[in-house]
Symmetry: C2
Subunit: 337 residues, 2 copies
Amino acid sequence: MAENSPPQGRDHPAELPPTLSAVAKLAGVSSITVSRVVRLPAQVAPETRARVERAMRQLGYVPNLVAGALASARTNSVGVLVPTIANSIFADTVQGLSDKLEPAGFSVILAQSRYDDQLEDRMLAALLSRRPEAIIMVGSPATEDGARLLRNARIPVVETWDLPAHPIDAVAGFDNFKAGVAVARHLIAQGRKHLAFIGGNEPRGTRRWLGFRQETLAHGLPEPQRLILDRNAPGSAAANLHLPDVDGVFAANDAYAIGFMAGLRKAGRLRQAAASEQPVAVVGLGNLEMGQLISPSLSTISVHGHSIGRTAAALTLERGGERHIDLGFELVLRDSG
Amino acid sequence: MAENSPPQGRDHPAELPPTLSAVAKLAGVSSITVSRVVRLPAQVAPETRARVERAMRQLGYVPNLVAGALASARTNSVGVLVPTIANSIFADTVQGLSDKLEPAGFSVILAQSRYDDQLEDRMLAALLSRRPEAIIMVGSPATEDGARLLRNARIPVVETWDLPAHPIDAVAGFDNFKAGVAVARHLIAQGRKHLAFIGGNEPRGTRRWLGFRQETLAHGLPEPQRLILDRNAPGSAAANLHLPDVDGVFAANDAYAIGFMAGLRKAGRLRQAAASEQPVAVVGLGNLEMGQLISPSLSTISVHGHSIGRTAAALTLERGGERHIDLGFELVLRDSG
DNA sequence: ATTAGTTATGTTAGCGCTAACATGGTGCGA
DNA sequence: TCGCACCATGTTAGCGCTAACATAACTAAT
C-alpha cells in the first residue's frame, strides 16, 4: 500500500476526510479491525476496541457508507417514490415508513413523480441506480417501462395506497373502488339523489370515482357528476358554482372537501354544526385532523396513511409472509354528512 | 471472474445485474466508452454510441451510482434533515428543495429528528456517512457534537426556518423573534390586553414566544401566558379551557390555531366570519391553505416554506454569492383577528 | 514529409471498504 | 504430550466505476 501521499493536483490542499486505514494506522491495527469495531464490535477485544475508538474520535472519523456499500453489496437504503409530499396525505406514509426504516439502519431516498408518468419513470431509474434494497411507491408504475425496470431490479417492491390486481411484488393499501362504493351507499341511504364527485383524475381518485359511480347507478339514480379539479387549486370553493343542484358530494380528499364546504358556506348552503341535516352532504377522504376541528366537522373516509407506511416498511424488511395487505378504510361520520 | 451463462430472454437479465463491462463486452468496446455514453455522450462517435446504447437496452443496464460515486468522489446526493414530515409545514420546504435538486440530478436523502437532540445527532452522522454533497436542515444543530460533525464534513450546510446568529455556513430562513413581535404589536394595536401564546417548546417556537413576550412587556402589558402543548395533540381545542380570560392568542402554527379556534367555537367565544370583531383574536403561523377556507378565516404569519426549500437548494448548488438569506414573513390578516 | 493539433478510444490504477480466507496464539481434555 | 477447537487479528482480492493519462488514426499547417 502506498504511503499516505497528499492529494495531487487539487486546488485545495485541504486535508481529506480520514479513512479507515488512517484510523488503523493511528491505532496500530489493521484496517479490517477498525471495520470490525464499527460493524461488529463484539468480535474485537475490549482493549483493542478502546484504542481504535480513541483513534476514531481523535480523527473525527465518519465511516464511508458509499465504499462500504460497494464492497458489501448492501446499501442499507430504500427508495421511496410519492406523487408529491407537500400538503399531502402521503407525508404520513413517509413518516410511517421512516419510523420503521430508520431504527433498522436504513436511509430513505425520496423522490417525487408529481403525477407525471414520464417523470415517474425517470425518478424510478434514478432511484434504482442508487441500488436501494427495496422500493416503496404510492400506487403502481404508470408505464410498462417503469414496471419492467422494477421487476428487473430483483428487489422488494411495495405498492401502496391501492390494491393492484397484478402487483409487482408486495402491496400495502386499501380498495379505492370500495371506498367510492361505501360513500355512495351512505349518501343514498340518507336519501340523497343528486350526487357528485370532485377530485383530480389520477389513478386512485379515478378508482374511487368508478366505485362511487357504479354504486349510484346500481341504485337506479342518475349518473353522478364528476368535476375534475386542478391539483393546485383545492381552493375548490368555486366548485360549488358548478354543482348547483347537487345534494351529496364525495371529494377525493379532505382538502377538496374542505374547500368545497367553504364554497357552500359562502353560498349559504351549509349549516353550522349538526343543528339539522346538511342541505348538501359532503364526505372527504384522508381524515385530516383539520376535518374534526372545522364546523360543521367533516365526514370522511379514514385511510391510515401512517399504517400504510409502517406496513410497507415491514414488507421490505421481512421477507416471506403475507405480501398483499389490505389495511382497509373506515367511513367516519361527522356533521357534514 | 467466472463467466455466468448469459440470459436468453430480453426481459429477464442475469442473476446479477449487468455491469458496465458486460455492456462493453456485448458492444465490443472498452468499459470507459460505455461510461462515456452514459455521462458524456457527446464525446463518443454516433455509431459507437448507438451500438453501446443498443447493448445497454438489450441487457437492461442500470448504472451503479454507488460505484460511480466511490470512483468519482461525487455522490450527487443531498442530505435533508427535518424534525418531522407528517402534517407539517416542512413538507413544503422538502417539496421546494426537491423541485430544484432533482432536475439538477441530485437525490434527496431524507431523515427526521423528531425534535429529539440525540436522534438528530445520530441522523446527522448517518446522513454524513453517505457522503452527501450538502446538508440542508431545519433549524441548527441542537448540540455542539452535531455542529462539529457538520463543520468537519467540509460540505455546504444550509440552516433553514431561522436566522441563527452564528451559522455553520449558509442560511435560508426568517426571523422568528420578529414574527412574535409583529403579532404582539398587531394584537396590542387592536386593544387586546390579555395575550397568550400556544405552541410547542422547540427552538423556533420558543424564539417566536420570546419576541411575542418582549413586545407585550414593552407595551406595559402583563406578561402573556404561554401554554406549551404536546406535539401529538394539536387537538388543542381543549387549550381554550386553560386560557379563560385571554383576548388575543398567537399560536406557533396554524394547526394549533385552528384547534384552538375549534375550542373557542365550542365555548361560544367565536363569531362566524367577520360579522364583528372576535371576542378572542387568534393568529397562527404557516398560512396553511385550510386557514382561508374555515370560518372565521385565520389570520396568520405567512412564511414561504416552499421558497425556503428552493433557496436552500440554490445555496447548495451555487457556490459563492450571498449565503445568508432572510426570506421574511408577512402578517396576513383575515377574520380571526 | 514533418510537426503539431484533434478526435475517438483504450489502459492503468485506484476510490474506501468488506468477504473470505489465513494465521498464530491460547486453553484444555485425553 | 499432542490435537484441536476457539479466539483475536491479519492478508488478499476485489466491488463497479471513473480520473488521468496513453494511443492511434486522422487532419491541417508548415
